[in-house]
């Protein structure tokens, strides 16, 4: 008789399904077999070895598709993380948000089973430190991984449906405790994040979404003490910056400007570049935020800054001024800031000059 470890997988199931499983379990155990093996309707999602938006975006998007399809079919599912060899922080944030969306909409409570956690030490460590399990209140007991000697500190994933200064504040405090952060940089940094979250809550989501949404934003951050680099990643599952231009901006001058760009034949990537690099304050409602240009300004003002914006099926890297068109959409907007001082001996991150 084959013996199955009862503490097995990350199991996702509806309440009704769980009741059914319980009945089956009793039946199976009585026959000395695992009930898990008997389930025909439960989908098994195997997380691929490499999850990286840059390196293998199509594979990653396929994984998100799989999760979404299951949501639409109202199926229960199991996520097998064992094959994972590499995952980036951005990919992890997107994966977390997709699992949360599915489970929230379906009313599923997650259960932790240790059999299906990653085998790879580094992946295990990253998931642990970035708070992947904690985010879903999954407890695997105290982890030995915390002794991992790498030089990267992580802020555990934060998500919210509102703009909470407190949640943004925990990010500021996280960096302040670890790195010299002058007040001007801190202020710009905080402003950029608060406005990004506000734009998401106010404009990103539409009611016409076939998958359904939970109107949240997600955030994570890290600090690499070896190279003195901080990075923060912000994601929402909204319609994307380019698809919300119509609803987010009522100003006729702004609409004409965008229409002009489109009639000039600008691609989606070109449009995104224009939005990130153009000061639109004279085209938009005067008393509304300056949006994407404020992210660019922030990055321009700090030493060694990089900004990458992915929205829908395009991405734009502000420092390299590089547009990339993709064949797949990330179904939302992902903003990544990396800040690294130029001087290796300098442990502080400074704003170059003080400008409003």
């Amino acid at each position: 008789m084959k013996k199955y470890d009862p503490s097995v997988l990350l199991l996702l199931t509806t309440k009704r399904e769980r009741k059914r499983l319980k009945r089956l379990a009793k039946f199976s155990i009585s026959r000395g077999r695992s009930f898990i093996k008997n389930q025909q309707n439960r989908a098994k999602i195997v997380v691929p070895a490499i999850l990286d938006l840059e390196e293998n975006r199509a594979v990653f998007i396929r994984l998100l598709d799989q999760i979404q399809n299951i949501l639409l079919k109202n199926m229960s599912f199991v996520i097998d993380h064992r094959q994972m060899k590499k995952i980036t922080k951005s990919a992890l944030l997107l994966l977390t948000s997709e699992i949360e969306r599915c489970t929230k909409i379906m009313g599923i409570k997650l259960r932790a089973k240790s059999k299906f956690v990653p085998v790879d030490f580094h992946v295990k460590s990253l998931l642990d430190k970035i708070g992947y399990w904690d985010y879903f209140n999954l407890n695997f007991g105290s982890s030995k991984l915390r002794n991992d000697n790498d030089n990267e500190l992580h802020l555990k994933i934060v998500g919210d449906t509102q703009v909470s200064g407190e949640k943004i504040g925990c990010l500021i405090e996280f960096f302040e405790n670890s790195i010299c952060f002058d007040f001007q940089t801190k202020e710009k940094f905080s402003d950029a994040l608060m406005e990004a979250a506000a734009n998401t809550v106010e404009h990103a989501y539409s009611e016409n979404n076939k998958i359904g949404h939970i109107k949240k934003w997600w955030l994570t951050a890290s600090l690499n003490t070896t190279i003195n680099e901080i990075s923060f990643i912000f994601y929402d599952q909204g319609l994307g910056i380019l698809n919300t231009l119509e609803t987010s901006q009522k100003n006729i001058k702004f609409k004409r400007l965008v229409a002009g760009w489109i009639s000039e034949g600008l691609s989606k990537g070109g449009l995104l570049r224009k939005l990130v690099t153009t000061n639109l304050s004279s085209y938009k409602d005067e008393r509304r935020g300056n949006g994407l240009i404020s992210f660019k300004t922030f990055i321009d003002q700090v030493q060694g800054g990089e900004l990458t914006i992915h929205t829908d099926d395009v991405s734009y890297s502000a420092i390299e001024d590089k547009i990339t068109n993709h064949t797949t959409s990330i179904r939302g907007t992902l903003i990544i800031w990396n800040i690294r001082p130029n001087k290796e001996s300098d442990k502080c991150i400074y704003i170059r000059e003080n400008k409003l």
């Binding site: 509102q162 200064g165 407190e166 943004i168 500021i172 202020e187 406005e195 506000a198 106010e202 008393r287």
Partner: protein, 112 residues
């Protein structure tokens, strides 16, 4: 400042360490909330002004907070009245008053 009573308001102790964004519907401790529930009364009461000590704020006063809170009051009451009524400072952010005035003047300018 007007000649009258000055309310010494410690923002962190009496309101929040984490000011939010523009509207109440977008999240807690918004500019709209602070304007309506704290500052409006000051403007509606004669010979009262307020000195806001923002020392210890963890995040920042975001542009949308400043605009919705102070900018809107400058629009409603005029910039001269605003300057007589509101004074803001922070021991850990010497540029705060200047930043606030940028949004106040911009809002007042829109109104003219």
């Amino acid at each position: 400042m007007s000649k009258g009573t000055t309310i010494q308001y410690k923002f962190v102790e009496e309101y929040s360490k984490y000011p939010g964004v523009r509207f109440i519907r977008l999240g807690p401790f918004s500019g709209e909330d602070f304007r309506e529930n704290v500052l409006r009364e000051v403007f509606d009461t004669e010979k009262v002004d307020i000195a806001i000590d923002a020392t210890g704020v963890v995040t920042s006063f975001s542009p949308s907070f400043l605009d919705e809170c102070f900018g809107q009051l400058a629009k409603d009451y005029g910039i001269t009245e605003f300057k007589n009524k509101v004074f803001i400072f922070s021991d850990d952010n010497p540029n705060l008053a200047e930043k606030m005035m940028y949004y106040v003047e911009r809002a007042a300018h829109d109104n003219s």
